[in-house]
Symmetry: C2
Subunit: 335 residues, 2 copies
DNA sequence: AGACAAACTTTACCCGTGTAAAAATACATA
DNA sequence: TATGTATTTTTACACGGGTAAAGTTTGTCT
């Protein structure tokens, strides 16, 4: 930087000031520096910069499973907002494994990020590791909540998701049975089942929960296997199935297809299937999937905004915030 | 670190040595440091560390489009291998945009990584920006090749993909027509079309290429729209369609379903559809998709190995290497 | 032109760690 | 126990830039 400062004819401290905020120097100085920048391709050493700054301009983003396009979409939106605000996002995926989640947490602490947007694994998470992390790094949880951890949680209102699908299905045909994994990884799944039970009770309908076996993050295959089993055993209490999430539904639809069961809302169909999430692929299932959509934009926007507010207020909020966005029903061909 | 050194009763330079390689200090010293590490939770400041090291332990990974589960899978495998080798992977997605790809390249240069694994956008890439980058940072290209850039390219052998699918389809029914995007983003697409033409010629069959409109990375929707148009116009030269890639095929299958066209290899089916990639979702289409599978493991393993070799040899290889892995035919229900 | 504030230059020290050189100590072997 | 080697300690400087203080220049306003 010293060399570059000489080359540009400006003193090093002023050049340093320029790189921290180009608007903090006089217009003519800025032009002079930028002219020199055109001649030499100098850029400050980020390691030296971050070592001296009290706080880096990095923001950590952790998602549980990047092979799920839902998270890929969230990430895209979040990264963009961080960059626009002058931060450098660093993306990490736990790939469904606690060990990885913990090691990400550790290396993220070493990065001293200004803040972290964190979608935890859920049931598989190491609560105490997360607690330690959150008390050291300004953290906003999203998508999947762990009570009391982080300064805020931004997610979707599972009750809104389920009540909309249940009401729609009930209005247009038989009341739905609820298909879910017996031991779901994601805490939203439990909230959705509870919401299903409560909504059915409110509407004075008899609930049916179909819990299928399977562990891990290969939801499609779990849904398919579980679906095949249910269909073979013929233990369907209704002709309408509401899946806990779209990936499960994708597998279930595959099972129906294999069994020659026609899914859809026409008279000649055997079964209706609906679900939750509006997964990027749910538009392309056969038939296309009726589902309750996340408000992707609001969740990502509000998560990032909350994190910025948290950073501005020094890493602590007055009290833990929890914001849930309602779903939007997407009616397609499957129900 | 000075404080921690005093607390552990070991001198600072030795502690520094320990953190660079725990085996480089005497066993008793190591034990003493690790005992102290249990009492205090000290970890070296990565920024100070990287500032002084001639080379960091970071490895950059760039993919063109993370919302495509194919890349998510690749990334998972690559990250794991990097971590196991003691490196810290940093993941970036260009999200299909040249501007983003260029800014990733720039911030990656500032990170002074030991090496970079780079799957470029392809047609949308800024060749000169990539050339500059590759001449400054040890880079291995994967998945999508740009002639002459980087020290090596590791990918899939498109000819192997196409010849296997064409031969299989021809052996079991009508010869296929080839469905592709008119202006594909990914260079593999062009290679596949050329391979289709050459294979058909070799087999003395008449080739039919169906080029559909559409730009960007929303392949499913492009395949669906293109499919609808083709089916409506009834301009199908054969009953067998070979799609350039699985995502296009997923959209095409949706179009067939919408049009009431039965896809599969049974006698009562109207059409056969096959494709290339073995996309993680192709198992769950209706019907399940017959496709030529990437050798995910080999590609990721060999990419990483090549990068390590490149790093060890100081950032240059004797000559640019190009390794292509053959496909494996996956026969499922669609053809 | 004079006065004042804003911006800049100069100088100097700081951050936390890598690393080299010389001296001191520990360990292993005969 | 003597000797040689492997480690460690001590001391010192380097890395590249943030930042504070004091003095100087520039620009603006009356």
């Amino acid at each position: 930087m010293a060399e570059f400062a000489i080359a540009s004819g400006i003193s090093r401290p002023t050049v340093s000031k320029y790189f921290n905020d180009p608007n903090s120097v006089r217009q003519s100085t800025r032009a002079q520096i930028e002219e020199a920048l055109g001649r030499f391709d100098y850029q400050p050493n980020i390691y030296a910069v971050n070592q001296n700054r009290q706080m880096t301009k990095n923001i950590g983003i952790i998602v549980p499973y990047l092979a799920d396009p839902f998270f890929a979409e969230m990430v895209r939106s979040i990264e963009r907002r961080c960059i626009d605000a002058g931060f450098s996002p660093s993306l990490f995926s736990s790939h469904g494994e606690q060990v990885l989640e913990n090691s990400i947490l550790q290396s993220l602490r070493a990065m001293k990020p200004a803040g972290v947007l964190f979608a935890p694994l859920g049931r598989e998470s190491d609560k105490s590791a997360i607690e330690t992390f959150c008390s050291n790094v300004p953290t906003v949880l999203f998508d999947s909540n762990i009570e009391g951890m982080g300064e805020a949680f931004i997610g979707s209102d599972n009750h809104s998701f389920v009540s909309q699908t249940v009401d729609y299905l009930t209005r247009t045909g038989e009341a739905p049975a609820f298909l879910e994994m017996k031991h779901p990884a994601n805490p939203n799944a439990n909230k959705r089942r509870d919401a299903y039970l409560s909504v059915m009770k409110e509407r004075q309908l008899e609930p049916h929960v179909l819990s299928i076996e399977g562990a891990g993050w290969g939801f499609e295959e779990i849904g398919r296997q579980g679906g095949l089993k249910i269909l073979e055993e013929g233990r369907l209490p209704t002709n309408t199935i509401l899946c806990s999430n779209d990936r499960l539904a994708i597998g279930f639809l595959a099972a129906c297809f294999e069994k020659g069961i026609k899914v859809g809302r026409d008279d000649d169909c055997d079964m209706r299937v609906a679900s939750h999430d509006d997964h990027p692929f749910s538009r392309f299932t056969c038939p296309s999937l009726t589902t309750a959509a996340h408000d992707y934009t609001s969740v990502s926007e509000y998560s990032v905004e909350t994190l910025f507010r948290l950073i501005d207020s020094g890493g602590r909020l007055e009290k833990r915030e929890e914001i849930l966005f309602p779903a939007k029903l997407i009616m397609r061909e499957s129900a």
